[in-house]
Structures are given as structure tokens and as C-alpha cells.
Amino acid sequence: MMRFLLLFSRQGKLRLQKWFTPLPERERRKIVRDMTMMVLARSPRCCSVIHWRDLKIVYKRYASLYFCSALEDPDNELLALEVMHRYVELLDKYFGNVCELDIIFNFEKAYFILDEFLLGGEVQETSKLLVVKSTEESDLLQETMEEYMRKPAF
């Protein structure tokens, strides 16, 4: 399973963090720092796999964003690259020509899409269409402000 997925910019600013195992806040921050340092230090000629502790870190750069995932030993690194690519495609389909700014200003939506694609560190839906469809239908369920005000909370 995937242990975590991080998205960060070339300046090391975190744009998304998805954790699939329980870790204390301090530990998470430390890992984010370590990942950022490690990945940003790699030259473009290097391969996309790094050995870190007992995990395999697979990363890929898309424009100004680095996608960085941590895999356990039995996981397939090349497939992880496909998983990250699929996520980018989903974001692209949803936002339309997605760029980093979209993810910055609509980070909660990036999470919602991710939660339709991965669950518990594993892929839950392999169809591009269905993931986007579920997300968009959920969006429709979100109340408009008027509805929001009128609806009782409990």
C-alpha cells in the first residue's frame, strides 16, 4: 500500500498531504521536510526511486509540482508512477488544464478527487470517467448558500 502522498512545489511549499498511516503531527512535519529536501536535491538525470528507511519513495515532477509517494516493499514502483500519472489526469479532467494555482486555491477539491481515486493507500477505481463523475456528483450535493442557511444543522 502507499504510505503517504505529498505534493510540493519546487520551492518546497507543501500543496497536498495525504497520510494513510497514523503518525503524530511532529513526525509528519519531519517527513515532509525530509522528503522535500531529498527529492529537490535529485538531479533530473536520476531515476525516480529512492530508498528511504524501509520504504521506496517514488516521485515525479509535473511542471512546477513534485508528486512524491512512499511505497512498501512488495509494491510495484513502475505502477506507482502510473498511479501518480492517473491522478494528474484526473485533476486535469476535473479542473480543465490543471496548473499549480488550481491546486493551491482549490486544495479541498484536490483532496476530494483523491479520495475518490485512492482509499487506504490502494487504488479504488481504475476508470477515469467514474472518478470524475463521482466527484462532480458529490459537488452537486453541496448546498448553495441559500440552502445552506436554510437547512437545519442537526
Binding site: 507543501l14 497514523p22 508512477l81 479541498e108 490502494e122 487504488v123 467514474l130 444543522a153
Partner: protein
């Protein structure tokens, strides 16, 4: 603008209207906040903005405002991502989850996943909400609950809610079913005992058409099979999982283009890979299952398109499966060849993955991997660090007796040029490989030299004693070794392990170095002074570590018995007697003492080291530091070869020191059982004839700390059985008297105490008494009380001799006396024959 955005625009204008009706201004909108924070030019400015906003949010929370709770939590999550504390929002997330509004729930669950963790009890409050939401009428709400539970559910939550998950696993709604399956995986990971309860629900999971359900079901089955051998057996036999999976995989490969699942011409690679992984687990150690999947594996291996990463991902998984199950040899060869092709691929990731897989299979399919050795060795030159590391590990795994020379060339070249992070591992690997497969001793030494000179500072500390032991044992090429090490030292003294090994060797074999002989190559002309220059240079240099200085000092000291320029050595040693470094100081002081008071012991102590036995525990580490001070405890039991070796060394010493006044006391290595050693020692002395032969066939003088195996009791227990004393020697003012005693523990032992007195007007200094006895006897000489005999009989030097005479032969003794009197050194030999019979009968 999407419908959603329009809704927000509308909502926010309504928002403003609403605000005017309220007294409090509405909290700033999420996107507005993000925009504002991004305008901050410095970290301090950003912090200020965030603190202000956090304060506003906190007060809003305090007022239990559920209108804007969602917005505030969303903002909090943004600020949390920037690295600011957000723990005060945890309870708010729970309130959002409990809300009826979908917007609230969405943000609430997201917040819970980001801010809550199972270490805090707060998260348990979610359990009830999740339970309700799992039964919600809207599938997207159920989805939220399943997602949250599957991502961060604690063990307690899993226990409470497993039943609900199991129910949803059986639903016909594929959207929920796939999520429930992964949620079940999480539950099983957290609470393995609950695995059983999901078994019934797995019955017809694989007959689903929906790929999402298929994929997650395969993941669930994989998890169950990996965790429980019983489950594994059940799925193999009862459920006939393998044929089902084979069928699904076949359909995926054969089926036409499916736009929904297509990736570069391959249909649903995610599902294919997971199926292959499950097949791996099912086929492991099971012939039937392995056979059933043979064809499909061959098909996937040959037909998958390899131009893109996705195809290679599938091939990679296939290869892993083939290597792990009981596949037939043809299939295995196919797999290794795929890996071989991967190694030649332009894509670095694929090369990396190939090397990793080859490393896994090199143990089982060694020969097949050997065929790709040259490609693997080429990967040592790759620019990528991860690839180089893998290639290095694999290269070491492939080294054997046949390819050692060629491989070592490549590995040494790699060592030269690789990054520092590799050097230590590479050096250790080379040493290991050389030790196992060295074709000749000289090659071995050459290889070590090469490593020490190119990566000397990265060599691990424990390599130094191992190397020293190796060098000691390569007897035939000692002069070659010391010559090469000396030359290396002339070039560079910065690499500590190299310097340490070199100084040790020079100390030990310095005599060979200056002798101008060398077996394997042109001997170099080196003088004693040049050698001492180098060693003194090491002592003085800032580059030398304290340990290295210790080595150098000891080496200098050892040369005092091998070189003739003793005075220079004495000077060096005494200088360091006041060194700031305590270790060095102690050594120097002790060596100084060796020159003065214990000079008679010096040659024995600094003698050539014997071949060391490599102990299992910590090898000859003890050897190194003790060098000359050869403690018997540090050495293993003596085998004949190691005894004869010192004999030849003894001869060397005698040859070199020739007419030196300093009598070499030949100390053959004291054994753990000196009793037997004593006999052998005496053998070395050859036949003691009484014909006055002045050859320095000398006496066995053993230091007193070597206590006897003969008797561990105090010496003078018994009452002197009334044996009369005798004068053994009386000449030139020096008189030596013998008094006798018998040991009460062993009647064959006679204890003789010598009393040396001086009735001249000047004292006698540097007095050394030595004795030798015929072969049938064993002699042990303890240390003297002093080596200065005061003038005018004002005191005597006493020394104890123990004689073992098992055969009750007549005791005869030859003694040698050395002393300085009135400024000039004197020496005399004498024979003592007239021993009282009681002393030897």
C-alpha cells in the same frame, strides 16, 4: 464558469446581505484568505496574517457559530498545510461531521483525516457519526464515511464498525462495494482477528463486471492470503481462485479497446498488476497453482507492449511472479531475459527496477544472472546513484572464483571514481570478495594495497586488524608487502587506515625493508634513517590521528631491535614521554623503561609476531595494540608451524644483530601452557655443549608475569631442605652465589636464588644475568631485583631461577653476565658444574 462557481458567487452575495442583518462581520472567505496570505512578502508578514485569522476563527468557534464553521475549518486546513498549528479545530471537525449538511460533512471528514489521529481519544467520538453515515440514504455520504474509516480508523473504531463494513461489502451498489472492500482491508490490517468475518462476503466478488470492485476485491483477497496460510489454502482449493484470476486476466489482455480503462493501449494495467501479484502469492510453493498460471504468465510476458512505462510495469510484476512461483525453467529463463532487456533500456527507472529484481533472484538463479554480468558491470558507470548502488551490490553477489580477476578490476575502478557514500561499502565488499576468492597471496596484497591507497580513509576500522593479520600470514611476501606499503607512505600520509597498516608493517618488517631484498619486485634502497624519518614524520604530522600516532610510536620502538640506530630511537621515544596525548605518553614512558630498566627483556618483547589465528569472536584486534608486548592470553594455542616460525625469526635476529653487545634474548612466544613450551624453547637452543663455544645461543629468560604452569603456588613455601649454597662465579669483583630450595609442590623443581654482589669501588650497572641448561632440563628465570649492583658489597642483586629436572640428570649450567663497570661494558661467560647433588637428585 461552472455551475458550482456560479453557486458560490450567488451564495456569497447572499452572504453579504445576510451579514448586514448580523452584527458581526462574516469571516473572510477561503479563497480570499488564500489570496491574501499569498501576498505576504516575508515569513513574518505571513505569520502575522495567519495569527490574526486564527484568532478570529477561534472566537468564532467559541461562539458555536455553525453557519461559518465549515468555512473556518476549511481555512484552518489551509493554514495547517502551511505548517501552522490547528489542533483547536479538531472538535469542530467532529461537529461538522455530525451536521446534516453535505458541505459540512465533506469538510468535516477531510479535517478529521488531516487533524485527528488515533492517538487522541477525540477521534473515538467520530465512531457514532460514522456509523450513522454508513447507513445514510445518500451513497456519497456513505462513501465519505467509508473513506474516512478506511484511511484513519483506529483499532477500536474498526472493531465497532466492522459489521457495517461487512454489510456494505455485500451490497449490489458497486460504488459502495469497492470502498467497502478497501475499508475491510484496513480493518484487517488493524485487527487481524476480524479477517474471518469478511470471508463469506468474498464469495462472488470476482464475478463482478465493475473494474473498481474487481480491483479492490483482488486487493482484499491478497491481504487475506498474505496474512493467513489457512485462508490461502482455502482460496486455492475451495474457491479455485487461480482459474478465476487467470480468466479475468485473459479477458483483459484479449479484450478490445475500452476507453474507460485504457492506458496507452493496455487495458486496466492497475488491475492486471494486482492480479499478477495475487497469483504470485497463490503460486508460491504450490505446484498445481503454479502450473495453472504458467500459460497466462508466458502470454503476458511475451505479448505486453514495452514501449511505455505502463507495459514495463506489467512485465516487471510478471517477472517477479515468475521468479517467485514454481515455474518451469523455460519461463524462468524468459523472465531473466526480460530483466536483461530492461538493463539495456534507456529509461533509468526500468534499469533500476531490473537491478533490484536481479538482486532478488541472484541467489536462486545464479547462473542465469551471471550471463548478464557484463551489462550489470556497465551499470556501475551509470550516472544515477540508486542504479550504481544496486549494480555494486549485484556485482558483489556475482563474484566467484572464475571471474574474480576481471570483476575486481571493474570494482577497483568503481572504487576510484564513485561517490564517497559508496566507498566504505565498496571497500568492505572488495575485502570480503578478495578474502574468499583470491587467486594468490600476492594478488590479495596488491588488491588490498590498491584499496588502501584509493579509498584509504573510507575503509572501516575493523579492516585494519584483519589486514594486518592477513599480511602476517602471507609469510613469503613480507618484504614485498612492507616495501609497497613503505612506498605508499612516501606518497601520502593522510589516509589513516593505510598509514596504520603501513606503520605496523614497517615496525614489524623494517629489517626486511632495509635489507635490500625483495621477492617479487625490484628492491628499493632504503636506509634506517630514512625509515625512521618517515615514522617520525607520522608522529609529528597533524594529519595523523591519535591511534595512528600510537601505531607509529610502537613501530619505532620495534625497530630498536631490528635496526642499529638505537640511540635515535631512544631519543624519539623519550620525547613522547611528555606528550599531551595520554595514550602516547604512557606508551613512550613504558618503552623508555624498556630501554633502561628492562633492557634485557626488550628483544624478547619486540620480537617478530607469529602467525595469528583468526578467532571467531573478534579476530586479532588484541594483537595489534599489544604487538611487542605479546601477551600469552591474546594468542591461541600453538600449532607446530607457529613454533618453528619464531625459530627462523630468532635466527634472523641473530644474523642481523651479529656482534651487537646487546644480547638478544630469544623469546619464543610464550604459550598458554608454558610447561610444554619450555621444552620446545630449550630445543631451539640446540645442543648445549660445554666446549666454551661463545655462540650466543642463549638462555631462555621469561618475564615474571608469565607465571608458571609448573606451579602456581608461592615459590618458597617449603623449608629449605638444607641444601648448601655455592659460589657460582667470582671474578673481577663480581661474585655470584647460588642458594637452593626445593618446591614443595613438585619435587622435580629446584629453586635457585642468585645473589650477585660487587666488592669493587664502583658500582656495576646494566647488570644482566642469563643462564642456559642442557636439553633435559627446563629453566625459568624470573626478573631480577635490580640491575645495579652497588659497590663495596653494599647490596646484592637477587634473581630466582627455577629448574625442572624430571630425569634427575646432573645439573649443569652455563651463565652469561653482562654489565657496565667504570664506564665500559663487560661481558663474561662461565660454566657452573659443581652443583650440590641435593639440588638435582
Amino acid at each position: 464558469m461552472s455551475f458550482l462557481d456560479a453557486g458560490i458567487e450567488f451564495a456569497f452575495s447572499f452572504d453579504q446581505l445576510y451579514d448586514r442583518l448580523q452584527s458581526m462581520p462574516a469571516p473572510i472567505r477561503l479563497r480570499e484568505l488564500i489570496r491574501t496570505i499569498r501576498t505576504a512578502r516575508t515569513q513574518a508578514e505571513e505569520r502575522e496574517m495567519i495569527q490574526k485569522e486564527c484568532a478570529a476563527i477561534r472566537s468564532s468557534f467559541r461562539e458555536e457559530d455553525h453557519t461559518y464553521r465549515c468555512r473556518n475549518v476549511a481555512k484552518l486546513l489551509y493554514m495547517h498545510m502551511l505548517g501552522y498549528p490547528a489542533h483547536f479545530g479538531q472538535l469542530e471537525c467532529l461537529k461538522l461531521i455530525a451536521s446534516q449538511k453535505f458541505t459540512d460533512k465533506r469538510i468535516g471528514y477531510l479535517g478529521a483525516m488531516l487533524l485527528l489521529d488515533e492517538r487522541q481519544d477525540v477521534h473515538l467520538l467520530m465512531t457514532n457519526c460514522i456509523k450513522n453515515d454508513l447507513n445514510h440514504s445518500t451513497q456519497y455520504v456513505q462513501g465519505l464515511a467509508l473513506c474516512t474509516l478506511g484511511c484513519m480508523g483506529s483499532a477500536e473504531m474498526c472493531r465497532d464498525l466492522a459489521g457495517e463494513v461487512e454489510k456494505l461489502l455485500k451490497t449490489s451498489n458497486s460504488y459502495l462495494r469497492k470502498k467497502a472492500a478497501l475499508c475491510a482491508v484496513h480493518v484487517i490490517r488493524k485487527v487481524p482477528e476480524l479477517m474471518e468475518m469478511f470471508l463469506p462476503a468474498t464469495k462472488n466478488l470476482l464475478s463482478e463486471k465493475n473494474h473498481g470492485v474487481l480491483h479492490t476485491s483482488v486487493v482484499l483477497l491478497t491481504e487475506m492470503c498474505e496474512r493467513s496460510p489457512d485462508m490461502l489454502a482455502h482460496f486455492r482449493k475451495n474457491e479455485k481462485l487461480v482459474p478465476q484470476l487467470v480468466r479475468i486476466l485473459k479477458n483483459l489482455i484479449m479484450s478490445g479497446y475500452s476507453p474507460e480503462h485504457d492506458v496507452s493501449g493496455i487495458s486496466d494495467p492497475f488491475l492486471q498488476v494486482r492480479i499478477l501479484r495475487l497469483l504470485r502469492i497463490l503460486g508460491r510453493n504450490d505446484d498445481d497453482s503454479s502450473e495453472a498460471m504458467n500459460d497466462i504468465l508466458a502470454q503476458v510476458a511475451t505479448n505486453t507492449e514495452t514501449s511505455k512505462n505502463v507495459g514495463n510495469a506489467i512485465l516487471y510484476e510478471t517477472v517477479l511472479t515468475i521468479m517467485d512461483i514454481k515455474s518451469e525453467s523455460g519461463l524462468r529463463v524468459l523472465a531473466i531475459n526480460i530483466l536483461g532487456r530492461f538493463l539495456l533500456n534507456n529509461d533509468k527507472n526500468i534499469r533500476y527496477v531490473a537491478l533490484t529484481s536481479l538482486l532478488k533472484t541472484v541467489q536462486t538463479d545464479h547462473n542465469a544472472v551471471q550471463r548478464h554480468r557484463s551489462t550489470i558491470v556497465d551499470c556501475l558507470k551509470d550516472l544515477d546513484v540508486s542504479i550504481k548502488r544496486r549494480a555494486m551490490e549485484l556485482s558483489f553477489a556475482l563474484v566467484n572464483g572464475n571471474n574474480i580477476r576481471g570483476m575486481m578490476k571493474e570494482l577497483l575502478h568503481f572504487l576510484d571514481s564513485c561517490d564517497p557514500e559508496f566507498k566504505a561499502d565498496c571497500a568492505s565488499g572488495i575485502f570480503l570478495a578478495a578474502e574468499k576468492y583470491a587467486p594468490s597471496k600476492r594478488w590479495h596484497i596488491d588488491t588490498i594495497m590498491r584499496v588502501l591507497t584509493t579509498a584509504g580513509s573510507y575503509v572501516r576500522d575493523d579492516c585494519v586488524p584483519n589486514l594486518i593479520q592477513l599480511i602476517t600470514n602471507s609469510v613469503e611476501i613480507h618484504s614485498y608487502t612492507v616495501q609497497r606499503l613503505y612506498k605508499a607512505l612516501l606518497d601520502d600520509i593522510s589516509q589513516q587506515p593505510l598509514v596504520q597498516v603501513s606503520s605496523w608493517c614497517i615496525g614489524e618488517y623494517g629489517d626486511l625493508l632495509v635489507s635490500g631484498q625483495c621477492e617479487e619486485e625490484e628492491p628499493i634502497q632504503v636506509t634506517e634513517d630514512e625509515v625512521l624519518d618517515v615514522l617520525e614524520g607520522l608522529l609529528a604530522s597533524n594529519l595523523s590521528s591519535p591511534v595512528t600516532r600510537g601505531y607509529a610510536l610502537t613501530a619505532v620502538m620495534k625497530l630498536s631491535t631490528r635496526f642499529s640506530s638505537v640511540n635515535r630511537i631512544k631519543k624519539v621515544v623519550s620525547v613522547y614521554g611528555s606528550s599531551i596525548d595520554v595514550e602516547l605518553q604512557q606508551r613512550a614512558v613504558e618503552y623508555n623503561a624498556l630501554f633502561k630498566k628492562y633492557d634485557h627483556m626488550r628483544s624478547a618483547l619486540l620480537e617478530r609476531m607469529p602467525i595469528m589465528e583468526k578467532t571467531a569472536t573478534n579476530g586479532p584486534t588484541e594483537m595489534v595494540q599489544t604487538n611487542g608486548e605479546a601477551e600469552p592470553s591474546g594468542l591461541e594455542s600453538k600449532h607446530p608451524p607457529s613454533i618453528t616460525q619464531p625459530a627462523s625469526q630468532a635466527n634472523d635476529l641473530l644474523d642481523l644483530l651479529g656482534g651487537n653487545d646487546v644480547a638478544p634474548v630469544i623469546q619464543t612466544t610464550p604459550a598458554a601452557k608454558p610447561a610444554s613450551a619450555g621444552g620446545e624453547l630449550l630445543d631451539l637452543l640446540g645442543d648445549l655443549s660445554l666446549s666454551g663455544d661463545p655462540a650466543p645461543q642463549v638462555p631462555v629468560s621469561q618475564p615474571s608475569f608469565l607465571l608458571d604452569g609448573v606451579s602456581s603456588q608461592p615459590l618458597f613455601n617449603d623449608v629449605a631442605a638444607g641444601i648448601p649454597p655455592m659460589t657460582a662465579y667470582n671474578k673481577n669483583g663480581l661474585k655470584i652465589e647460588f642458594t637452593f630450595e626445593r618446591s614443595n609442590t613438585n619435587p622435580n623443581i629446584a629453586i635457585i636464588t642468585i645473589h650477585a654482589s660487587n666488592h669493587t669501588e664502583t658500582e656495576m650497572t646494566n647488570f644482566v644475568f642469563q643462564a642456559a641448561v642442557p636439553k633435559t632440563f627446563q629453566l625459568q628465570l624470573l626478573s631480577p631485583s635490580s640491575n645495579v649492583i652497588p659497590a663495596l658489597n653494599q647490596g646484592a642483586v637477587t634473581q630466582v631461577i627455577k629448574i625442572l629436572n624430571p630425569q634427575k640428570h646432573q645439573l649443569r649450567m652455563r651463565i652469561k653476565l653482562t654489565y657496565t663497570h667504570k664506564g665500559s661494558p663487560l661481558q663474561d661467560l662461565a660454566e657452573v658444574n659443581s652443583f650440590p647433588p641435593q639440588s638435582w637428585q
